[in-house]
Amino acid sequence: MKKAVIFDKVCIMFGSAPQKALPLADQGKSRSEIQAETDQVLGVHNCSLDVDEGEILVLMGLSGSGKSTLLRSVNGLNPVVRGSVSVNDGGEMVDVAQCNAKTLRHIRQSRVAMVFQQFGLLPWRTVAENVGFGLELAGVPEGERTTRVEAQLALVGLSERADAKVAELSGGMQQRVGLARAFATEAPILLMDEPFSALDPLIRTRLQDELLELQARLKRTIIFVSHDLDEAFKLGGRIAIMEGGRIVQCGTPREIFSNPASDYVADFVANMNPLGVLTARDVMVPGEGEGGGVHAEMPVRDVMLRLREQPRLSVESLGQRIGVVTAQSIVDRLSV
């Protein structure tokens, strides 16, 4: 699998003397301890993570856990104190923590685009002018810009409002403009910092669905920051859970749900609806069922429907019967 972004032991420290604080962070001291001793604020510490091309990776954690800080290292908005952040620049990996200003600008103009929680739109510009902002900075000529902007507007369903000022739009519409602006540069890597958190729940769900639809067509690499586990599980192919500036667990939603690495992760997971995550494999017990079986990766939701017709379902994987699901086995698994 080709990598889009590789975080290698990334440390980010805020303050005037970050080097002084690194040894303390290496000893595993917490943010408040480090701040008390050295007056430096720990952003993230020793975060390593590979992001595959085409996947949606969600950074998830409580507020202040360092999600935004880690995300913003990808396009150099936060300088890295130690470690490296390599970004795929059409085949070769560029370390944005070390590269010169010109290379960084090239990465920002054509490889990595960003969507912000507070939209970050220019209020004196129209919708279309906002969408074309990144292209304008990259020096794309006017004619080509217009066509590309129109295409993006159509994609997010805003063609009618192209000439409206952004302030006239609702929050959901404004974030569609933000998405279109990021998609317009055709950057293969998208950074999204809680893009839907400022929106009403209904609009949020709708935009999540739209994002998944767009992603199915456009196949970008998306690093998505969220503090909402349901959102993370819905969007994320993989989820990296952060606590106090460190990554505590990274894996698919299922892995995290079935095997929380710590109490912190378990607390998160306890608050969510497990039916969307677990599969037949997770709720089966050893034994043999009757009749036609179900596949081991079938979501529990669907398994439950099947149980109505057939109280003991065999679970199959690679042509083998590997276990049995009953109503009782599901209840037992969920009540642990």
């Binding site: 960084l104 090239h106 990595v112 685009a113 960003m114 912000f116 970050g120 739109l121 220019l122 900075l137």
Partner: protein
């Protein structure tokens, strides 16, 4: 106490020495500046005085229409000018307008770049603030004297005195606007790979435009408030009849010319009020 007053700190002597040194060593600089300002003043004066009055008035009315649309304000501006002609102050008004316009060119030309530089360098602004305060609080008459020393009598020292008094306003307002640009917008630009100059032109200046326009408006109003002072160093314009009236204790003349100044002030203010809408 006697000791204290016997050992006076020679502030006055120092100032004189400093000005003397500047005069001998910086003569070429002040001469160059005087020539540049003279040229600017001559050019503007030529534009206002060579064409017939009716043409100049029509131009101002048209300009008002371009800025404000509607018909009420252009009509008001036209009537205002006709009143000035009626009172016999046309020439003085063009001279004062010249002073105001030159002050605008110089103050905005200096003030906006300095305001931008100050907004990008907080330390620089910390240094500048007391200087700006001094420029605005020092009684104007105090720097009229060195203005005469360096530039003689006439429009140029009037313009210099005006600029010193007025330029802090556009500097402060430009600084306010640029440094108030929300971080979110700056980061959005940065994340899409904007160069510093793109950030300035695409983000900071458009964001600060209302404040910069307010700076222009203040520049005009403050310059106009300096016409009487400028007349004291020999600048032509509406200040001259006021000073004359003061010398002769001529109430009628004083009131008349003062009223014309007020009319000009109101006209310019209304003409340029863009931000309110």
């Amino acid at each position: 106490m006697i000791w204290l007053s016997d050992n006076k700190i020679p502030i006055g002597d120092w100032a004189e020495a400093a000005f003397g040194w500047l005069q001998t060593n910086g003569g070429w600089f002040f001469d160059g500046m005087a020539v540049a300002m003279e040229t600017l003043i001559e050019a503007i004066l030529w534009c206002l005085q060579t064409p017939p009055e009716s043409l100049v008035i029509a131009a101002f009315v048209a300009l008002t229409w371009v800025i404000q649309r509607g018909w009420k304000l252009p009509l008001f501006i036209g009537l205002g000018f006709l009143f000035i002609v009626n009172q016999g102050y046309w020439e003085e008004t063009t001279e004062s307008l010249t002073l105001v316009l030159s002050a605008c060119v110089v103050c905005m030309g200096i003030g906006v770049p300095i305001g931008i530089a100050a907004a990008h360098r907080p330390r620089l602004y910390a240094w500048m603030r007391p200087v700006l305060d001094l420029m605005q609080t020092l009684p104007t008459f105090v720097y009229l004297i060195p203005a005469i020393v360096f530039f003689g009598i006439g429009m140029v020292p009037g313009l210099i005195a005006t600029v010193i008094f007025v330029v802090p306003a556009p500097i402060r307002l430009t600084h306010l606007g640029i440094s108030g640009t929300p971080t979110a917008l700056l980061e959005a630009a940065e994340s899409f790979g904007a160069t510093p100059s793109q950030t300035l032109w695409q983000i900071e200046l458009p964001y600060a435009l209302p404040q910069i326009m307010a700076g222009l408006n203040q520049t005009i109003m403050l310059s106009l408030s300096m016409v009487v002072i400028a007349a004291l160093v020999g600048a032509d314009g509406l200040g001259v009849p006021v000073v004359r009236a003061l010398n002769r204790v001529d109430t009628g003349l004083g009131f008349e010319s003062g009223f014309v100044i007020v009319v000009v002030a109101i006209m310019l203010d209304r003409m340029l009020r863009v931000g309110d809408k």
